[in-house]
Symmetry: C2
Subunit: 379 residues, 2 copies
Amino acid sequence: MENELFSYTIEATDATTHARAGVFKTAHGDIPTPIFMPVGTKATVKGVWADQLKAAGAKIILANTYHLSQRPGADLIARLGGLHNFEKWDGPILTDSGGFQVFSLAEHMKLSDDGITFRSVDYDGAHTTWTPEKNMEIQQLLGADICMQLDVCPPFPASREKVKRAVELSSAWAARCKAAHTKKDQALFGIVQGGMHLDLRRQSIEALEKIGGFPGYGIGGFSVGEDHETMFETLSPFCEKFMPKEKPRYLMGVGNPTTLLRAVASGIDMFDCVLPTRTARMGTAFSSQGRINLKHAKYEEDSGVLDENCTCPVCTTGYSKAYLHHLEKQKEMLGAEMLSVHNIHYLLNLMREAREAIIAGSYQEFLTAFLVSLAANDF
Amino acid sequence: MENELFSYTIEATDATTHARAGVFKTAHGDIPTPIFMPVGTKATVKGVWADQLKAAGAKIILANTYHLSQRPGADLIARLGGLHNFEKWDGPILTDSGGFQVFSLAEHMKLSDDGITFRSVDYDGAHTTWTPEKNMEIQQLLGADICMQLDVCPPFPASREKVKRAVELSSAWAARCKAAHTKKDQALFGIVQGGMHLDLRRQSIEALEKIGGFPGYGIGGFSVGEDHETMFETLSPFCEKFMPKEKPRYLMGVGNPTTLLRAVASGIDMFDCVLPTRTARMGTAFSSQGRINLKHAKYEEDSGVLDENCTCPVCTTGYSKAYLHHLEKQKEMLGAEMLSVHNIHYLLNLMREAREAIIAGSYQEFLTAFLVSLAANDF
């Protein structure tokens, strides 16, 4: 990759677990891994200002190709200087392909070997066809630093036949995406499918490597409804045995703190999820003591902060759980805003601590201490 | 007032208009006048962080006694250290009496010489009676730097008889509030009523001064449905002829930029209004070119900022009207957040510029230039 504008360097590997600490370089800055990437679906991390994301230590944010292609449209964003200029984020951005959202349209979506035809019923209901080439065109217009191949996301549970078919089609589309992708300052990641079948996962990554490989790999088709144990039964041996060591591994759609840390132990480097902002809008905060539902009456007169150990502006300013409870009960916007900032800060900080532990060679102890402290909580 | 913890000093008076520049000192800081005070009804300026208010130059914010007495309750706020600690605002705070909100309960409210009995139908529907003494007790528990007397707010239009009765009862309640008010680091302002009747306005202020006067005066009963010309026909001569010169004058509930500047010319020192945040949540921004409704399709591809002259973080970061249009159309929280910060910044800046013009002796020119630039707009 030495001729590219991006590269991945592994700085440390943990002695006991499979955790790694690395840096993915992009034209808009370095991304230390392991990392959590806040999701800005519609070119905004819901409720949070860019300077608040920066202050929380966000190094890369996501945007969603499906939603942005519907409104305001990729052409318009390109004419306005691309996503970085549109949303005024000068750090790295990753766009997912939007495939996951299109497959979620269910009966409004039709899959063929050539692509996906769908009706955007959550927007104007227009019919659109995405070939791999068309999807690349859109993501290149959006202009993120990392884009994702268009892949096939089977529902869960799906028959082995269906999962196998998804792997084969995703592999074929990976080759077409790679051929269509020309933007030199944008890294194109391939996506591994294969559900809970280790052999199909292996088949998927081998097919991607066979066509010359990608500068990074998304791992899709997990966290789609299966329990965590089921996921790790496939994910851990898959990463250990079959994933190329020198490429970043991005477990798509996972944001639960415990799952994040366990996946890091399996060798995952990158994560994204709407969880921190979505739970915030429902009135829930992450904390080192477990989740806190601020709507609960027991916080009515609680003068304590969300988390004594937290360095986010909500906790360091000293806002009480009683104040946040009041904001939640009165449906004040500031409640969701504060919890969003806190939750994002919490996950970013957790990943920073994980990275430091990997470098210090003490990741297993770090993970164990975390799991023990949360053992009594539904986290 | 030399024995008090607050004082008002006039620093400059305009040569041509009746505008004044002054400073009201409180235990939590100095308030330069003329000033606009952002409204934080339920102990939060909707959608805006305290550090964003500070950065916009807010020197004092409001909170509402009616709403806070309902939820979370004044006792609870007192136990949590008062409003300053509850909402983490270390600058001056003003609480209005809540009388205006209680009178808005209309058929759920009953007025007697002794007080107001009401049913809080927008909360739990409980029956409450506010005497002037009870209202003072609540405002002292909230602990703002400035509190307002309980007054009688007649509907508009009201018969002269009704307005006269409101003046008499407000005067009597002013005396009772003054007698009941004991918090030494909290200034109690009297409120002038009298509708559009200059003689009743005069009767009102004379009654307040007769009982020893107050460190400042609210002017209520304007901006209640009458047009601006009608208001100024009474307000201007009233301020000029009958208001004591050495006390700050607070025109309650006015936030329209043009009206603010004209009222400053009439000698008003303080303003509050929910307008900047309410219009923001409806997708509208103030600007030196008039109001901008970001939902309008004409902004879909507008790469310009809201106001080239604005120093708020939205404009200086360079967020385009196209981006704000997108946020509005997609009902993204960040749209209302950004417009709220911008609008508050706009009004605070307008008052700073007004103050500078007064001190420079050029307020008339400043006002004229503003009115001319907006002549073609519905501002």
